[in-house]
């Protein structure tokens, strides 16, 4: 077990668990329980995450009431709960997946957030926030340019005065580091 707790062994273990996750997804999709795919995959993901963490615990020093004890306890309980939920799903005694809404739109939202994160690193907080707010408002179908500009610039001023000047929070400035 120690082999799977660090280095190459851990990577192999992680890959194996990821494969398990994908296989579970595929199996559910094709089975008569395809309406429960999401309901099953969430506890499955937690179960596999627990398994990954369980592997890592073998790297900890062994001692009485040592660092591995409590994590293993939580993982054991979590696994038991997840397995029970999966059992109910297989038996068909569980809530079905909710009707899928605009998943693509949510992914767009997540994508914009991730882009915002990287923009802050590169362009700094202030510039990227103005861009982010404008884009996000546009995406959420606000079509009034004056409103978009006033909200973004208003936020810019607010965050500059309150967070940067008053509270001394060193917001990242990115490439503008030397100009402010």
């Amino acid at each position: 077990m120690q082999y799977f707790s660090h280095g190459t062994g851990l990577s192999i273990w992680a890959l194996f668990l990821a494969a398990c996750f994908i296989i579970t997804g595929l199996v559910f999709r094709r089975s008569s329980r395809h309406n429960w795919t999401g309901q099953a995959l969430l506890p499955m993901a937690l179960l596999l995450l627990g398994a990954l963490f369980y592997g890592v615990t073998f790297d900890f020093p062994v001692e009485e009431a040592g660092p591995a004890l409590i994590p293993r306890l939580w993982i054991a309980c979590l696994s038991a709960m997840c397995v029970t939920i999966l059992f109910f799903i297989v038996r068909g005694d569980a809530d079905k997946d909710p009707k899928a809404g605009r998943i693509g739109f949510v992914l767009l939202g997540v994508g914009i957030m991730v882009a915002y994160y990287f923009a802050i690193l590169f362009l700094g907080y202030f510039v990227s926030s103005v861009i982010f707010l404008s884009v996000m408002m546009y995406v959420l179908s606000c079509r009034k340019p004056i409103l978009i500009i006033s909200v973004s610039v208003g936020w810019l001023l607010f965050s500059y005065v309150v967070f940067y000047k008053l509270l001394y929070i060193q917001l990242p400035l990115g490439i503008f580091e030397n100009y402010l």
Partner: protein
């Protein structure tokens, strides 16, 4: 009448326009900072420490403690109005506050939160003034085994948070507990589950996780059901709760205030655990427990009464012994030291003006908070009528800056976005997110005290230590009781089904 003499010294500190102005400013800053997700009480106070450095010691500490007490109420505003707890403890307020807003009763919810916060805050301070020293001594006597039992009792409150599926709540709380294990292990010094990254060395911070799980996830969920049609503005009622309604929740407020103060006294527990436990107890005592989670004024009062009164409790170990009981206390301790003061028994003797000045200021701050809150609520409530296309981008912007403000780290921002996705998925499949917060809040307390207890006295301590044994038994029952009730309910439903088939 030593106490009265001391108070006259304390009140004399407050004479003049300067101290009053400082309290008013402190309360306003506290309410606004509390309402801003990311500026939790401890962060808000910490950010104002440098600012207060140049002030007179008494004024500086009055400013910081006023912020501390008001921020716990401030957190409820955003929790009620946009389901985004401004402070960790307001996660409990959101459970009933937001459903009330959805029913168009935001005014009632905010009014109840304000009333409960004011009464709770005042009761907490009274208990602090009257019994600080003896209470602090009692709290010290609690052994690690007792603390472990107390923390487990906190975990048991998960039962009252689950609507429907208890299993899903358990999964959520265990997920929270598991991710709290990431980072350095405070007992052995080993780093756990960090996968070689320094960023994970301190583990996931509570605030970014909280903002992600509550605020960011809501925006994603709204985007999933986005129609593009501007929402028809429902009528927002800014009416305060009626006198009759206030009378109905008076016992809840009193009970929660006492619970909050007591929990606040224990070093390491704090406002969030106080709110969760008080909510759980209030639900059990309530005549209408089925309304909890669907917009119960009692639920809002239970959470707010407890988290505001916990401030008085948390100041007990700090002022009486110089031991910081909460994260905010630790910051306040630093503020005392900056002004060459050391909190503790000697402070009462050497600087009664400061101690009783703080006491008097806290009482005054509560009254000012009530007045400002009544007017402020009419203003805050307008937030609900902001169009969604502007509100959601702003919520995301606040989430990002709030996560960053906690410790000035972009990693926290990334974590906040990640937790936003996790929160969206959890809610999508009917898993509640509040238990994750409970798990993160209690994870360290459960683990550290369990291991400390075993290291000190071995595993037998959990039945030889009477107090720990009793509390453990109670928490065990509170885990099992809802399961049993659920099972019985399930059975009676089945039986009635069978009966109706026979008929």
């Amino acid at each position: 009448m030593e106490l009265l003499d001391s108070f006259s010294i304390g009140l004399s500190v407050l004479l003049g326009w300067k101290p009053i102005l400082v309290i008013v400013v402190g309360v306003i800053v506290g309410i606004l900072a509390g309402a801003m997700p990311g500026l939790s009480p401890s962060t808000a106070v910490a950010l104002l420490v440098p600012f207060s450095y140049t002030m007179e010691p008494a004024l500086a500490l009055i400013l910081l403690t006023s912020i501390y007490i008001a921020s716990n109420y401030g957190g409820s505003i955003t929790a009620v109005l946009i389901n985004t707890p401004g402070t960790p403890s307001a996660a409990v307020t959101a459970m009933d506050g937001y459903p009330l807003t959805q029913k168009g009763q935001a005014g009632k919810a905010l009014g109840t939160a304000l009333l409960a916060s004011t009464v709770g805050g005042a009761i907490g301070v009274m208990i602090l003034i009257l019994f600080a020293v003896p209470l602090a001594r009692v709290a010290l006597k609690f052994s690690p085994a007792d603390y472990f039992a107390l923390a487990l009792f906190g975990l048991a409150t998960v039962a009252s948070m689950s609507r429907g599926n208890v299993l899903k709540s358990m999964v959520a709380i265990l997920f929270g507990l598991m991710i709290k294990n990431i980072g350095i292990d405070p007992i052995s010094g080993v780093s756990r589950f960090t996968f070689g990254s320094d960023q994970l060395y301190d583990g996931f911070t509570l605030i970014p996780a909280l903002i992600g799980l509550f605020a960011v996830s809501v925006v994603f969920a709204k985007m999933e059901s986005w129609t593009g049609i501007p929402r028809v503005l429902e009528k927002v009622d800014n009416k305060l709760p009626s006198f009759k309604e206030m009378m109905k929740i008076k016992m809840t407020i009193l009970r929660s205030s006492v619970i909050g103060t007591v929990i606040g006294i224990f070093p390491g527990a704090g406002a969030t655990i106080a709110a969760f436990i008080s909510y759980d107890v209030s639900k059990r005592w309530s005549k209408t427990p089925e309304e909890f989670g669907k917009g119960s004024l009692e639920g809002v009062a239970a959470a707010e009464g407890a988290n505001s009164s916990s401030v008085g409790g948390a100041l007990v170990p700090l002022l009486a012994l110089g031991i910081p009981g909460s994260a905010t206390d630790a910051v306040l301790l630093g503020a005392f030291m900056l002004h060459d003061l050391v909190p503790g028994p000697l402070l009462f003797k050497n600087n009664p003006d400061i101690v009783y000045g703080i006491f008097s200021a806290l009482i005054l701050a509560n009254m000012i908070m009530l007045i400002l809150g009544v007017y402020g609520n009419r203003l805050f409530i307008k937030v609900v009528s902001v169009p969604e296309a502007i509100m959601y981008p702003l919520i995301l912007a606040i989430a990002v800056i709030g996560s960053f403000a906690v410790s000035g780290s972009m990693f926290d921002v990334a974590a906040c976005i990640g937790f936003g996705v996790i929160g969206w998925l959890f809610k999508r499949y009917g898993f509640p997110v509040a238990p994750i917060v409970l798990g993160i809040v209690l994870g360290k307390m459960v683990e550290e005290n369990f291991r400390r207890a075993v290291m000190m006295d071995g595993y037998s301590v959990f039945y030889t230590d009477k107090l720990a044994f009793v509390v453990l038994l109670i928490s065990f029952l509170s885990f099992v009781w809802p399961l049993y009730k659920g099972w019985k309910h399930h059975q009676s439903v089945n039986r009635s089904k069978v009966k109706s088939q026979h008929n």
